[in-house]
Symmetry: C2
Subunit: 468 residues, 2 copies
């Protein structure tokens, strides 16, 4: 990505394929003049920013490529802060290709993936964490992952970090000033104040680090296993849960998307459902392997819904099956991970759920009685699944870190700040303290892009689609 | 499609899937006010037409759905001649769905396929043949099919037909005036002039009908069979022809499209290549069936490239194979359909092509010597294939009918005009002549949509994508 700002770039910005319309975007100093050269309509050279103009795009030979609407955005009032032109043409792959080729023949370069957003970053329109949020926003497929990306795109915790970082920079400057005085043994930087500042920053950053586990789940979905014996009612329950969910989506044609796995959405949280072999007693070697695989899936899951049939299952059977599949050494049945579902309550309302509770194994609050067939108590199950992820509703109002790169940078910051604190305790010289502060500053600066390398930019923007 | 103009419609106008940006379009009286109600930025109610505005779309609860660019087009200066708003948002399926749902909750209706273009037609922005050309333009995948659709979208032969139709309407009015005078035996309409007019119209329409065969090929591609014995060099030739073609397309990422079959493009004409079983002597019943299938494919093709190996093939073998596969009763080897390709000329430059010519069978102008391996004479073959479709270059400058519906309407017109001429010769009464003229007018009017039925509109616009 050397010298990315010197030239004018072009790309298709809407998805590939046939459609009613397609948008081709150009950005760069010459964007307006180069489009104007092949646009037959009003001259674009003098039109105001943020105006739309109808006309024809013709190639060098005068052949009409398309009738288009041209939107003009003048620097710096554009996404990239450069001159930007958007060509809205008919959504024909042939036309798109011809228009791209026309401008590429005349010195415009095909944009690399994410290069428009890269320019927005390099020109100061967005910081790096905001640029990353653009990619997250496009990929977001639930209300919560969308809201998290939107929050990050609109500044998120980056503003907070910038303030803390500036305070730290001021201290670093004072300490480095001391170094200039060499042998004179002066202290411009108050060591007590520095310690307080470092502890304050550590405190903020630690809570951001703590938020990452939840952020990761909210962004990527909750791995959820639904397990139980054959005929316990797994698929009926799944259908009841999924159909409600799907009915909303399928109302709007043209917006459903391919999913590799089944997902269930509750209050905006996506539960990614993982299939397991039916739970049964191992009769032979081969079934034993199946049990091991199921146990592995269960151990990797964030949530396990264990469903059983209240008519067919005795408490003893339930405890035995559960011990085989769900138990581990630390905790027999972890209520943060496992929910027991007593199904078919409609068939025998006299079955007492109390029989299934057992001291230290299945807790009353962790067993839900329902009838999947009659859709009884389903909303109660949903509330329970939601609370297994979000303990307290206010958790969602706090700042949440969702990006692994930010998480790593925050951990690096803490590690450097701990060295600063150690240095203050052991009374090392200013140059070592300054070095550790600089190291923390680099880690913090990498989040917002105040510090970056070409490799970092390549790895972030290379994942973007072309045209973004 | 009853009362389609009464309400405001909405649809995603760019292809589905993730992308940098997506465009959602609204059209109707309330389009601007309804978007303004959920747009947080400048008030859209008073902004000029053809301006773009940056801001946020929020739902009823104040949740930010996206940061968008909103383009405003005021009636009648829009595609549909109604108020139109285009929302350019991030290309996220989730965001698209949320924005569509927001406006659908507030009285905007999801557009039916092609409904924007339908409104453009009903509001007089486009005639019916122009509206149909919009669909053809999006589907066009070669320079010629693109140019034909563009020509039709910009008026095409419709303007010409409108003039002729008006002249005919004037005559019909005069003849119907005669009918009002009943028994008085007056003739306002000059029968000689009418005959001349009808002959003139027939002449124009006949040449349009004649152009359809070519138009159909240019629009849909030329069904082309490549046949020959195994090892004659079929696949080498195909690769040489196709790779040149593909190199151009693959330069531009993001614009290639799925093709069901192999296609070859020469000067903008698409040749759709049809595979056949290798040509060989039938040894048994099963091979005989294979030969019949190959012969059937050959008989349905527009062009057959018959390739043979000059080293391995004697003239007698060529004539025999060709007679088996390519001959028919009318013409042994039709030069408009079949081109013989003498391959592997590099291996034995001493082979004389003259040996393969045979009176009444293979014509000198119809045999091309080349080496697929050494890419010798390939451009000569391409020129030949092109000329087999386009006899005279000026054919492409004439008006060409590509639409089967138009073709049928033109034939109906001729049939009614013939009845008018018959009536003039046999001297039938004015009411019969008027009836036949009206029938011709209906057929002509159906082309441009001056006459239409709801069923016709449904069948035309129902084929469009949603959002067009």
């Amino acid at each position: 990505m050397s010298n990315p700002l010197g030239d004018t770039i072009i790309a298709l910005s809407t998805p590939q394929g046939e459609g009613a319309i397609a948008v081709i975007r150009l950005s760069g100093f010459n964007a307006i003049t180069i489009v104007d050269a092949y646009f037959h309509g009003k001259s674009l050279v003098d039109v105001p920013s943020h105006t739309v103009h109808y006309g024809k795009i013709k190639d060098e030979s005068g052949r009409i490529l398309d009738e288009c609407l041209i939107s003009v955005f003048r620097a710096p009032r554009s996404y990239t802060r450069e001159n930007v032109v958007e060509i809205s043409c008919h959504g024909s792959p042939y036309i798109i290709q011809q228009i791209l080729l026309l401008f590429i023949r005349h010195g415009v370069r095909q944009a690399e993936p994410g290069e428009f957003t890269l320019r927005a970053f390099l020109n100061g329109q967005l910081d790096l964490s905001q640029a990353e949020a653009v990619g997250d926003l496009i990929a977001a497929d639930s209300s919560i992952s969308h809201d998290l990306a939107m929050q990050q795109m609109r500044g998120g915790f980056a503003d907070n970090i910038k303030v803390l970082r500036q305070e730290l920079i001021d201290f670093a400057a004072l300490i480095e000033l001391e170094l200039d005085f060499g042998e004179e043994d002066v202290e411009f930087a108050d060591r007590d104040k520095l310690e307080k500042l470092v502890l304050k920053i550590k405190n903020v950053i630690s809570s951001l680090i703590d938020s990452f586990a939840l952020g990761n789940i909210l962004k990527n979905g909750v791995p959820t296993v639904i397990a139980g014996r054959p005929n316990a009612g797994k698929s009926t329950l799944l259908n009841v849960l999924l159909n409600e969910d799907r009915a909303i989506v399928s109302e709007i044609p043209g917006t459903t998307r391919d999913t590799i796995e089944e997902t269930l959405t509750i209050n905006g949280i996506v539960y990614r459902l993982i299939d397991t072999a039916g739970i049964r007693q191992a009769q032979d070697q081969i079934e034993a392997i199946g049990i091991d695989k199921t146990k592995e899936k269960i151990s990797k899951a964030q949530i396990v819904m264990y469903i059983y049939d209240v008519i067919e299952t005795t408490p003893q059977q339930l405890w035995q099956d559960a011990s085989t599949y769900l138990g581990n050494n630390d905790q027999i049945f972890n209520p943060d991970k496992i929910v027991f579902i007593a199904n078919k309550m409609d068939l025998n309302p006299y079955t007492s759920p109390e029989d299934y509770y057992k001291e230290g194994m299945i807790d009353k609050n962790n067993l839900i009685t329902l009838s999947a067939k009659n859709k009884m108590n389903i909303s109660y199950l949903k509330d329970h699944l939601y609370q297994m992820v979000i303990d307290h509703p206010q958790a969602l109002n706090q700042t949440i870190v969702t990006n692994t790169r930010h998480y790593q940078a925050l951990r690096d910051t803490i590690s450097s700040l701990d060295k600063v604190l150690d240095g203050l305790v052991t009374g090392v010289t200013g140059d070592f303290i300054a070095m550790d502060i600089r190291s923390a500053l680099r880690a913090l600066g990498a989040i917002t892009g105040e510090i970056y390398t070409d490799d970092l930019l390549d790895s972030i923007f290379g994942r973007f689609c072309i045209g973004k």
